[in-house]
Amino acid sequence: MGGTVRTGNDRGEANALGLVLIAPVAIALALLVLWIGRRVDTDAQVQAASSAAAQSAAHQRTPAAAVAAAQSTAALMLTDVKECSGGPAISIDASQFRAGGAVTVVVACSPERSDLGLSDPRSATFVATSTASVDAYRSVGLP
């Protein structure tokens, strides 16, 4: 390799101010990506939980059993602590719970976000509603 002699000024520009300004913005952008990702994920999970809860409620024999099944299914599907701190809130409409009727389950979830370093630990509540048909032909046990 030949020794190339560089002439001229090679002292570049170390833009310290730019770096100081860009670094926080880059970190904020990374946090935004995490926050958005979790938001989309939680939304989908709550929706899936409400759908499964409604389906399991529709398979029960009595309205009381339907309420219990919906609650246990939704709680089981949202056991992740980060998903719903304090467990999901479930309300169930079993007024149409009869053969050929329908049962509606609403699942609400306030996820924990403190691990993302956000000041507001719990501000968003995710709500999903699902309705399932109750079988028209079923064995005895339904009032």
Binding site: I36, R39, V40, D43, A44, T104, T131, S133, A136, Y137
Partner: protein, 123 residues
């Protein structure tokens, strides 16, 4: 210049997430509604054939039940959508539902079959 770049990036990220969230939601809902409509439709069996030991879905009654269930569930969810397709074989009902709440169509397809007995083998 860099500020503009970051603002644009953050804005597009938020827009992308909204769009993904909404279409994911629509697709899940469409599949869920299609499944419930198919289940309801598969219950519309022909009693005369059942007495002869055959499980046959009554096509006319099933189509009516499927349309009614789809409309009801779309109304419950507050979604705009329609019944895209219904196909009825001997004891199997397959339903496609399209949701167009956001202007972009999301379709879900599901099928259900009527069988006799709790522990009957899957058809």
């Amino acid at each position: 210049m860099i500020t503009l770049c970051f603002t644009f990036l953050a804005g597009s990220l938020v827009w992308l997430s909204r769009s993904v969230d909404q279409s994911l939601d629509d697709r899940t809902n469409a599949a869920s509604i299609a499944f419930q409509a198919a289940r309801a439709g598969a219950q519309a069996i022909d009693p005369t054939a059942l007495r002869a030991g055959q499980v046959i879905v009554d096509p006319v009654a099933a189509r009516m039940v499927v349309a009614e269930t789809t409309a009801r569930l779309l109304a419950v969810n507050g979604d705009v959508g329609s019944l895209a397709a219904v196909s009825i074989e001997t004891n199997r009902v397959t339903v496609s539902v399209t949701i167009t709440t956001t202007g972009r169509a999301a379709t879900g397809t599901a099928s259900a079959a009527a069988v006799v007995g709790v522990d009957a083998p899957l058809p």
